[in-house]
């Protein structure tokens, strides 16, 4: 994402191509930086976007212009579909398990939005549903079958099921005077993973 897009997004009210278009931006910021430099002031969407454009703390994870007709839902995705085994079956030999059920999951970002623009009030309402995977999937590994036969003729089958680390935001917001709006923020911290630095995420909608 280059900084020109960010500057354009700040000037969007004057530059909108279609009546119902909005920009959705997902910023991330190291929590340490947030606490030291930004936490004392009231969170402000325009300021966060400006800081991201200047590479001073927050950085852009996702930024997209949603082109839609007024009040019509739109869906945007970025990433790729992942398929994994979610269940197994045995054809009689419990030591030879085969995949039975496959599931698909979109890895990356999914944004669904419906935008309503009120021209006379310089206002928009945006119903937004955003999901973003913040890390690559990890796996819980285990072995099967559970078997109490005395001399297993074969080794157990190593199985694994995935874990998906994500953030999600659902809601409806409005912007008066066509200003960027901070829809939400999410602190991603894990008391167990002390080596991981906590990260704060910001969902910003720019009419």
């Amino acid at each position: 994402m280059n900084r020109w897009w960010l500057l354009i997004s700040l000037m969007l009210p004057a530059a909108q191509a279609r009546a119902a278009d909005v920009w959705v931006t997902l910023l991330r910021c190291p929590e340490e930086h947030w606490q030291q430099k930004l936490a004392e002031t009231k969170p402000d969407a325009a300021k966060l976007l400006a800081l991201a454009a200047a590479h001073e703390g927050p950085e852009v994870a996702v930024q997209v212009r949603l082109e839609t007709e007024n009040a019509k839902p739109v869906r945007w995705t970025e990433g790729k579909e992942m398929e994994f085994t979610a269940g197994w079956i045995s054809d009689g030999d419990p030591f030879a398990l085969k995949p039975r059920a496959k599931e698909k999951r979109w890895m990356g970002t999914v944004i669904e939005a419906t935008v309503e623009r009120f021209e006379d009030e310089e206002a928009v309402e945006v119903a937004l549903n955003l999901r973003h995977d913040t890390a690559a999937p990890t796996w819980t590994e285990f072995t099967y079958p559970v078997s109490t036969v005395v001399d297993p003729p074969k080794q157990k089958t190593p199985l694994k099921l995935p874990q998906f680390r994500r953030i999600e935001w659902q809601g409806k917001i409005s912007s008066k005077h066509l200003k960027p709006v901070l829809a939400g923020s999410l602190l991603v911290a894990s008391p167990e993973d002390k080596a991981d630095k906590s990260t704060r995420w910001f969902v910003i909608v720019t009419p």
């Binding site: 030999d93 419990p94 009030e121 079958p145 078997s147 939400g184 602190l187």
Partner: protein
């Protein structure tokens, strides 16, 4: 028609106008237990002051922020902010028909672990949750005993840790508020000497509509606590209560916790606004095999931790509190399954818990004693509570905002006291006398004198304003798949029955005004008192196999040393009903101990209206 279209346009224009917005924020701050306890339970700190102190600790590095979610929402609408991990885990297993000794996962499903904030304007429902750690993989033994030489295997299950609250909150708020305070869901996973923490869930709103925020109705911050104290404190604490000194009791207990002479054994805080009825859970969802426990075919889960439900009645200080806490990590009972093969076992969790339910009136910035009871000696406790077996349940109330008018109805709370004595069998007859002229007061006075002489023994004493409970769940084999002639030294339990072993008192009495003399108050309703004398001797493997040899499929009958008294007002008996302030003899119960010695026990109860 033209006017109608104009009307529709106007209405449509109003409806289409952008609606006002409000920013919601939910934060979880982990801070030292002792300091949060003082902040919540002593003094008169408002929620804003609590918040300021927590943020000061954050700046000083004495507290940590575990979760911080915010969302802008419109009036009216629903918002969800969530961060964490979708875990896939198996939910259904299958057994290979040709090889019944094999299980494998057939289906799986996703569950979420992390932080969640949900708010729904339609019903003001605020749901928040937090997972302090990843799920834990637990291995359970799996044995198929219907074969010549069984092998021990294990089956993996996930235990989840979650702190959750479900409440009703009118927004916007006039300032930061405490929505709940949890003991960490993974507290039993920490080393015994590790620092102890409490997690404060704080909520705040930001809106341009300051009039709306200022118009917030008041609410109560309700703190429910259980303290473990030495047995000899009971008389002194009850004397303080009868002098109207519940606040002094709480302050004394807080001092004793600081001095490490008492232990905080139960703790939870809820925000109560009118009929918001908040529900709180914090703990480990501990999975265990619910069917076919030697070779599991279905799983269930128990919450190992704390549950707190509170109901209020405006801001008048009338509160109904229901709380349950595990006292330690549930020990696993081990059931051997084969003679000469001690490694072939199955496990069963046997949690030890304390619980109370109280309906009481607590003054603003004051405390109300809810119960005092002793945890029986045979119930396992953590080391720091081993010589502090008396539990003191107490509730604190802090009004946030202006008081509302008291309810029109009169509060009719009752307090109960029960005593259970072991008596000489020769004395039993006088307590079983059904005569309406029996003088229970005189009987008790005589019994107490006899106790002083060492001829009777006080086994249990309870004081409460509602229900109280302290016990351990014990499991025993209730069903097997029968005798197997081919493998007579092995057996296969197919169902475990759970029974609590401990002390339990519950009462639902109400005063009745059926006497012409108003000074004599009597009660209707029902009460039950259960007290176990000892842990049961769970049948051994040898006993189970002997029973199967005799009966083909029936496991040993399990004996429990249970004493149970129930009272229900029944005018047909001719006995006077329970009268306020006077002891009432509930009768005699007999039990034969493991050595075959028969013993008699008598119970008394007092009921008094709360002053």
């Amino acid at each position: 028609m033209r006017h109608f279209i104009l009307f529709l346009c106007l209405v449509g224009g109003i409806a289409m106008a952008a609606k006002p917005t409000c920013r919601l924020q939910q934060t979880i701050i982990r801070a030292p237990e002792g300091e949060v306890l003082e902040l919540m339970a002593r003094g008169t700190h408002s929620d804003a002051e609590v918040s300021a102190q927590l943020h000061q600790w954050l700046r000083e590095g004495r507290a940590g922020m575990l979760s911080d979610l915010s969302a802008l929402r419109m009036f009216p609408d629903k918002v969800v902010a969530r961060e964490g991990t979708d875990f896939m885990w198996w939910t259904e297993e299958d057994q290979v028909l040709d090889a019944p000794t094999a299980l494998y996962p057939m289906n799986s499903a996703s569950f979420f672990v992390g932080s969640v904030m949900e708010y729904d304007s339609d019903n003001h429902a605020w749901k928040g949750s937090f997972s302090p750690r990843k799920p834990l993989l637990v291995y359970w033994p799996a044995v198929w005993t219907r074969q010549a030489a069984p092998k021990l295997d294990s089956v993996a299950q996930l235990d989840r840790f979650e702190q959750s609250i479900s409440n009703k909150v009118m927004v916007p708020l006039s300032g930061p508020e405490v929505l709940a305070v949890f003991r960490p869901a993974d507290r039993f996973e920490q080393p015994a000497d590790a620092p102890r923490w409490l997690d404060v869930m704080e909520i705040a709103t930001e809106t341009e509509d300051h009039d709306l925020a200022a118009a917030q109705p008041s609410h109560q911050r309700v703190v429910a606590m259980g303290f473990a104290v030495p047995d000899e404190w009971t008389d002194e604490l009850l004397a303080m209560h009868h002098e109207g000194g519940d606040d002094r009791i709480l302050n004394r207990l807080l001092d004793e916790v600081k001095a490490q002479r008492a232990v905080l054994a139960m703790f939870g805080v809820q925000r109560v606004q009118g009929d918001s009825n908040p529900r709180m859970r914090s703990g480990r969802e501990h999975a265990f095999p619910a069917e076919m426990p030697t070779f599991p075919s279905a799983w269930s889960a128990i919450l190992v931790g704390d549950e707190l439900n509170v109901s209020g009645a405006g801001s008048s200080g009338l509160i109904e509190v229901s709380m349950r806490s595990d006292l330690l990590q549930p020990p696993n009972a081990t059931f051997p399954l084969a003679l000469h093969r001690p490694e072939l076992v199955m496990f069963w969790p046997e949690p030890a818990t304390a619980a109370f339910r109280a309906w009481l009136k607590v003054p603003d910035h004051g405390a109300g004693l809810a119960g005092i009871m002793r945890v029986p000696d045979y119930v396992p406790l953590p080391r720091e509570m081993s010589d502090r077996r008396t539990m003191v349940f107490i509730v604190r109330n802090d009004l946030q905002g202006k008081p509302s008018p008291p309810p029109q109805w009169k509060f009719e709370g009752l307090e109960y006291e029960t005593l259970v004595y072991e008596i000489d069998a020769a004395d039993a007859a006088k307590y079983q006398d059904k005569s309406p002229f029996r003088d229970d007061g005189a009987l008790l006075a005589e019994l107490q004198k006899t106790t002083g002489e060492g001829k009777a023994r006080l086994l249990s004493r309870i004081w409460s304003v509602g229900d109280v409970h302290a016990s351990q769940e014990r499991g025993y084999v209730a069903e097997t798949d029968g005798r197997d002639e081919a493998y007579p030294q092995q057996y296969r339990p197919t169902a475990i029955m759970q029974v609590f072993v401990g002390t339990d008192f519950n009462a639902s009495l109400v005063p009745v005004a059926e006497h012409s003399n108003d000074k004599v108050q009597q009660f209707s309703g029902e009460l039950t008192l259960v007290h176990h004398l000892a842990q049961p001797r769970i049948a051994t493997l040898e006993q189970q196999l002997a029973s199967l040899r005799e009966t083909a499929e029936t496991p040993c009958r399990q004996r429990f040393h249970e004493l149970k008294w129930t009272w229900k007002k029944d005018p047909a008996t001719g006995r006077p009903a329970i009268t306020a302030g006077k002891p009432y003899c509930l009768g005699v119960q007999r039990d034969t101990d493991e050595d075959g010695v028969s013993k008699c026990h008598v119970a008394f109860v007092w009921v008094r209206p709360v002053k």
